[in-house]
């Protein structure tokens, strides 16, 4: 679904860009999740909440979660996933903050994804240091970002919506060297 307007507006253009003489090193695009949020647990309830998130992701395959702080998870997926979480979260244990509108998610995919992201983020993208199905919180100068790695060559970058266009431009700029495609 999504009645949400993309933060990119007319700025997103399909095509192949940069040095594609050897093919595109990566593909770039915006991806939409029907639901994005942050779950925060109070200190003594971290284990309880962790378990709850674990069982929700086990039950509803259309959602995923990754830890962005000792007591916080970024959660994303379908409304079903949200339904599997929200009602079960006791206010004594923690809270779910809806950020569906507040985040724009970019997906970068391809053999050069690590190289391109390494231009922007000071985190170790080597697979051993950043395994699949994990995520982390970091920043590119003023732009706060949460990065999730669904596959070895694929990353989802969650940025604050107001930064979306500025970051999209940055991402494209960084990818020009290896050539990129926007489908």
């Amino acid at each position: 679904m999504s009645d949400r307007a993309s933060a990119l507006g007319q700025v997103r253009k399909s095509g192949a860009f940069g040095d594609v003489s050897n093919g595109a090193g990566v593909t770039l695009d915006e991806t939409f999740f029907d639901f994005v949020g942050e779950v925060a647990a109070f200190p003594l309830s971290v284990a309880t909440v962790e378990k709850l998130i674990g069982s929700a992701t086990a039950k509803v395959k259309t959602g995923f979660a990754f830890k962005i702080a000792t007591n916080r998870w970024l959660v994303a997926g379908t409304p079903n996933f949200r339904r599997a979480l929200e009602p079960k979260l006791a206010s004594q244990d923690g809270s779910l903050i809806d950020l569906t509108h507040g985040r724009t998610v970019f997906r970068i995919d391809g053999p050069k994804a690590e190289w391109v992201l390494s231009k922007l983020f000071a985190v170790d993208f080597r697979l051993a240091a950043f395994p699949e199905k994990t995520g982390l919180a970091t920043m590119h100068h003023d732009t706060f970002a949460q990065v999730y790695r669904p596959g070895a060559q694929t990353f989802d970058i969650f940025v604050f919506r107001s930064f979306a266009r500025s970051f999209w431009q940055t991402l494209r700029h960084a990818a020009e060297e290896v050539g990129y495609e926007v489908v």
Binding site: A69, T70, A122, A137, T138
Partner: protein, 88 residues
Amino acid sequence: MRISCPHCGPRDLIEFTCQGDATRTRPEPASTDQDAWNKYIYERPNPRGWNREFWQHHGGCRAHLILERNTATHEIRDVKFARHGGAA
């Protein structure tokens, strides 16, 4: 400088902000002891050598940390969460 955040692992200095001396204690909220408040707000031991400091991992998990850091060498020998003396 790299700081090993107990949650995020080692990260670059740019992701952190130093938020001052962690050896000071804030007077009780209702305290009207002006000297104690003055000491808390304005006075610093500012040692050369090891000290305890608050840092926030603002560009990562946003946790506040307590660092044991050497102001003469920039060595860091301990990092823990500020909350509850290191617990999450």
